[in-house]
Symmetry: C2
Subunit: 175 residues, 2 copies
DNA sequence: TGAAATAATTAGTGATCGCTATATAATTCG
DNA sequence: CGAATTATATAGCGATCACTAATTATTTCA
């Protein structure tokens, strides 16, 4: 998972993945079926653990302002937590990959996240929950890209606050 | 340039690049020195032509509100203009590349753009021009990522408007 | 302990990578 | 027209890719 996160799906080979796990390539294929199978397991684990803060924030927040603020704060924290593998594996783990299956895998997870956010916003009685969810996902994608481009944690935090407070200021109830 | 834009630096081979130009690999090396040399030329051309709207907007705008609004609008237009090569070549052309030189090339151009935006904002007498420039760059990176992930032009526009108006609403003069 | 089943390792498959030495064709000049 | 020069194209260099057949080592039970 760390290797995929660090260098992307195409950037790491099966030999190195097996070595990191402590097995040989044939054992990797016996256990996961293919490189893509291992990637699927890694991405799902990442979404469950590292990406769990998203559903947690939505569950715990009692109003959209608090939710969005906390979402951006925790995203900036998460994306800059480990200097060795910055950004989000779901956002950027298969970016520019030559394997369409790997891209489709992460795209599906992004779709689920966007759907959960949009549904929560709509449930809060907000106008334009769809475009709002798109804007949030785009901002998160930007944060992930910036983290991967090496932006320091403090700068990431400051920029995240600008964006979150900006979007919060534009919230309005459904017509 | 189109091939690099479409599939990223690592995603396209020299043989295909040469074929697209209409020459053979040895001629490509005679003309550009290396794959990286051709990428450099392509990225610089892209920054000059397709990315020219950024400096144009800054030059023409008479206040930050107008500038930011126009920046996001034109970015969304540009990133979704060609379905075959969506997003921004400078933002995502070398993302997850295994060649650090290619990544450094695009990183330098992003740094220049961020610098130009920050300087312009500061010249407009705005508070926190640095974090603001970071936020703008991050939003643009998010728009590029969303475009590359296949988001339709209209949705991209709507989300861009949410983000731009949000940031505009948070502008404040320097202390 | 000895045979059967399982696991791990080595080595190698064809394909593609960036890049280039060699060979062929086209052009320029005496 | 023929020789020297330049530009083109073909083919192949070593390296790496995902993946696996064949071999060796280990363990499991009678």
């Amino acid at each position: 998972m760390t290797l995929f996160h660090e260098r992307g799906y195409d950037g790491v080979g099966v030999a190195e993945l097996a070595k990191e796990i402590g097995i040989n390539p044939p054992s990797l294929y016996a256990a996961f079926g293919s490189k893509l199978g291992l990637f699927e397991r890694a991405v799902e684990r990442y979404a469950d653990k590292d990406g769990g803060f998203i559903t947690d924030v939505l569950d715990r927040s009692r109003n959209p302002e608090e939710a969005i603020r906390e979402l951006f704060l925790q995203a900036a924290d998460s994306f800059a937590a480990d200097r060795r593998c910055p950004g989000c594996l779901v956002m950027d783990g298969a970016r520019n990959s030559t394997d369409p299956d790997a891209s489709a895998l992460t795209a599906t997870l992004r779709g689920k996240t966007r759907g959960a956010i949009a549904a929560w916003l709509a449930g809060q009685g907000l106008h334009d929950a769809g475009p709002l969810a798109d804007a949030l996902m785009i901002a998160l994608a930007g944060l992930s890209a910036a983290a991967r481009d090496g932006m320091p944690k403090d700068n990431l935090h400051a920029a995240a606050e600008v964006m979150s407070e900006g979007i919060i200021g534009r919230l309005e109830p459904a017509a």
